[in-house]
């Protein structure tokens, strides 16, 4: 109840992982850990979709949707029922 943060877009394909550990380094919320030279998601709900892991994974093992749509654009869309348009804010 009253928790919208249980799901997010982070997906790890362990097959592609080379065990470089960079995702563990860059993640500011300790989402990953390495076991047996493979990355593993240990705290999935901690992910804030910043995109750091995906951008720095040279193996392309991580996908996450980051940085699209800002709060006021989403608020407008939710109020009017219209499509969400991107805006220039942070």
């Amino acid at each position: 109840m009253f928790n919208s943060y249980l799901e997010n877009t982070l997906v790890l394909d362990a097959q592609l992982c080379t065990g470089c550990t960079l995702c563990v380094t860059v993640c500011p919320h300790q989402v990953f850990a390495i076991t047996d030279h493979k990355a593993r998601i240990i705290n999935p709900t901690n992910c804030m979709e910043c995109g750091a892991c995906q951008v720095n994974c040279a193996a392309g093992a991580i996908t996450v949707t980051s940085g699209v749509g800002c709060a006021s654009a989403m608020i407008n869309a939710a109020l009017t029922g219209k499509k969400e348009v991107a805006c220039g804010c942070c």
């Binding site: 919208s4 997010n8 380094t25 500011p28 919320h29 910043c50 940085g67």
Partner: protein, 331 residues
């Protein structure tokens, strides 16, 4: 920070120190107040701190003065180079999100200052929070420089530099009281004018109680919410805000009940319900907007929250406002 001399064609190395001047402190104060945002810039390019040699480390940061100053003051006593990217005066974290603290800009800047000729090694130390904008492997491929992600906070750099290892603690982003506190003046600067107008209107329509109710909503949303954030019940910002708003509305509800025993029952009930509907929804709304300033809410979650609560919020606020307006006049 002002002395500029030329090293080679195309490269100007600027000089900086680890000292904070009164001008720097004033600049920080103004930035913290949320005034002239985007005006707190450092000239992008390469800086030398102390008297660096070709072996000295190279640190990369944004051209937001608070980011640059945090870095150079943390490197006190060190001989180093600082490469400042042009992030349009935005801090590392937000700029990385916008990709202005980004792969392309870093590559461009490395080439523009001829970094290969300035240092003999091929290592760059970046703040961890710049990682969303930087593809380390791309930098390596295109410039030969190896990106090393330092700690989240510049203050941890001295400890980090002893062995170039960050403790898990140094890698974690937290949102402590201090960080939540510094958001308050920015929020207040942003809304003081409409806020004062709303308080004035409240006073005209419903005297002191209405004016106080508006003031309570403004302070509740911009000041109490960020301070109390971790302790408010539930995970969603909207429900946290609504809870805070409910608590804030109770004194107004009781004062109607206790101080205006002479009013008709519907007059009392109307105003009480008005407070109970308008105050929690407006504080919840301000709180929801706060998700943009935090460092742990995902877009997916924020979107879910917005689509779940924004309409109930709007309806509750509208009904509450109408009740408060009507029962300011109807006795």
């Amino acid at each position: 920070m002002t002395r500029v001399f030329h090293l080679a064609a195309n490269t100007a190395v600027m000089a900086t120190t680890s000292k904070m001047t009164s001008t720097n402190y004033w600049d920080h104060f103004v930035a913290r107040m949320g005034v002239r945002r985007g005006d707190h810039r450092v000239t992008p390019g390469l800086y030398k701190l102390g008297s660096p040699s070709t072996d000295s480390p190279v640190f990369v940061t944004a051209n937001y003065s608070l980011s640059f100053d945090a870095l150079r003051t943390s490197l006190r006593g060190l001989n180093a180079y600082i490469l400042v990217l042009d992030t349009k005066g935005v801090n590392v974290w937000c700029a990385a999100g916008k990709r202005t603290f980004g792969t392309r800009e870093l590559i461009r800047r490395i080439k523009a200052v001829n970094l290969n000729n300035v240092v003999s090694h091929r290592r760059l130390i970046l703040p961890q929070l710049g990682a969303p904008g930087i593809a380390a492997h791309e930098i390596k491929n295109q410039t030969g420089f190896l990106v090393e992600y330092g700690p989240v906070r510049a203050a941890d750099l001295p400890e980090y530099l002893t062995n170039h290892r960050a403790t898990p603690e140094m890698r974690l982003v937290k949102f402590p009281l201090h960080d939540r506190f510094v958001l308050i003046p920015v929020e207040l600067t942003a809304i003081w004018l409409p806020g004062l107008i709303a308080i004035g209107l409240g006073y005209i329509i419903g005297n002191l109680p209405y004016a106080l109710a508006v003031l309570t909503v403004i302070l509740g949303g911009t000041t109490f919410f960020p301070i109390l954030l971790p302790w408010l019940p539930s995970k969603d910002f909207s429900t946290k805000g609504a809870f805070l708003g409910l608590v804030a509305a109770l004194p107004f509800v009781f004062s109607v009940f206790l101080q205006h025993a002479d009013w008709s029952w519907y007059h009392q009930a109307g105003q009480m319900l008005g407070y109970l509907l308008a105050m929690p929804s407006s504080i919840a709304y301000i709180s929801l907007n706060f998700t943009g300033s935090t460092t742990f809410t995902s877009r997916t979650g924020v979107r879910k929250e917005i689509f779940a609560y924004i309409r109930p919020m709007a309806v509750s606020f509208a009904i509450g406002l109408v009740l408060l307006l009507v029962f300011a006049f109807v006795k």
